[in-house]
Amino acid sequence: MTSAHSKLYSDDVSLVVVIVDTNPFFWAGAALPFADFFGHLIHFVNSLLLLNHLNQVVVIAAGVSSCAYVFDSGNAAASGSPDVAATFAKASRKVEEFVKQDARDTAGNGTVAGGGAASLFSGALSLALCYIQRVFRSGTRHPQPRILCLQGSPDGPEQYVAVMNSIFSAQRSMVPIDSCIVGTQDSAFLQQASYITGGVYLKPQELSGLFQYLAAVFASDLHSRAFLRLPKTLGVDFRASCFCHKKTIDMGYVCSVCLSIFCKYHKKCSTCGFCC
């Protein structure tokens, strides 16, 4: 649970992978319209690119039926100095295409529940980690990577194992996962992610000032974080929930073979069928 600054990397250069939640079910009913939110995000991306000429930003969109890379500053920079308006236009176009394609896929797929559908956060997080591994392989001097998640839709409990695997992999590679909640409820997955990997968890109170929150809290690179006083969470609830009733428990019984958690003692484990 330690913070992740390390002297192996070049100090101020960062690679920020932003995971954007584009769940249409959530954005349809959100207080802040998606277009405004996207505007805040693009201004934030541009400020990151302006902080240091070697900074890189990658944006991954997490939809309801698919995930995709939306923006990579490495591709844009090939043509010369980063042009603010061009970034905005290109990224907007790609996100629009992605959201349309996602909507088409969702309509065609009957299994999506509707109001409470979760975005594919585990998929986007896995893609981000694969990209970061590629950056690690690129040589001895590489930027310090971190992940920023802008999440609005609720957690999907079916993604629990995948999200925890990604969190442990990020912890091993020393990549902090920052979270900014743009929805109404806290996300237990993101609280655990930020706590375990040493990132920052924030739920802004005023979404119309989102850019200010992003620039003040999430724009600082990892080396500078040692000198800054960033928002601290009071404590994460790490209690487990039992497999039979899904309620959080203080004390329970764990099967030694398959590690399923039960609230009452049973003669036989219902997951793996082993008798005691």
Partner: protein, 386 residues
Amino acid sequence: EEEETGDVLEAWERAYADDRSWEALQEDESGLLRPIDTKNLVHSQYRRRLLAAVRIQKGLIRYLYIVIDLSRAASEMDYRPSRMAVVAKCAEAFIREFFDQNPLSHVGLVTIKDGISHRLTDIGGSPESQIKALMGKLECSGDSSLQNALELIHGYLNQIPSYGHKEVLILYSALNTCDPGDVMETVEKCKKSKIRCSVIGLAAEIFICKHLCEETGGSYTVALDESHFKELLLEHAPPPPAIAEYAAANLIKMGFPQRGAEDLISICSCHKKIKSGAGYICPRCKVNVCELPTECRTCGLTLVSSPHLARSYHHLFPVAPFDEVTFKLGQKGGQNCYGCQQSLINSDSQSNLHVRCPKCNQHFCFDCDIYIHESLHNCPGCESQR
């Protein structure tokens, strides 16, 4: 930054430091030189390991004793600076990796010196105390005795709960064993108590070690050099296949403590010192403990947090091995690796070999394949679709 703490290489040294280009060449069939394709080599090694590990039940709650041979043979200098130093360093890395992969398991250390074996640390769940004890006493002398070590461990492992898997890992430098009695009897005893013994030899293959491993179902390997030794040692970190009769399946009572309030001042039960806040409260007896996972000293309840259990879930839900595919002409899509967006078309290699997930049909490069199966344990393609 030109100034760095640690090794500072002169500019002329830096040019040669990572670039021993003569080592990256090999001869092909006609005697001409060509560069070694290390990437393909590494990948085919990794695939052999992966396909050998079929989906079988693994023993997740392990009680492992590591036996370090500190006899005369450990002071040999064929491993720089000495066998004992290399073993200690690799054992430290192994203990950290072990607790990373098996958070609910316990490790203890035993040394053999002057023919007598001595328990260095009690079996416990915290890596720091084990490593501190190991680094503290590193001197070698005398003979080594396998029987004494096994007898000692047998006594201790009989006291552990029945759901735990009993394991011994012997890091053996000597070429013989001087025992007070019949070592074959001890091997039989270990076999009857269902203790799985594995040996990693540093010198040469010895019959008694081979016999021990075969009888108890462990693995015997001999290291060729330092990096090979480390590799062999780290292979013991993931849980081994479990033989069903060896450990009883049981529902273990565990507690999931919550963090105490920040301004709470109390005496922590592990260090017996006053601590303010930032500790965990045992749900049964309400004492303060400093870190998890641990066993409450007052009531004996195993205390864990849900991420500790989640660390082992990937053993239960592994990612299916990917299939190797190459490019077909006129194939649309699949130009870039789905995970890292790197181009899969390599102009200078003959075959554009890459991999594809059998479930979601997404294409990945070799590096992502290794990362996904060894560290991430999620297929990004399968997670990114419903």
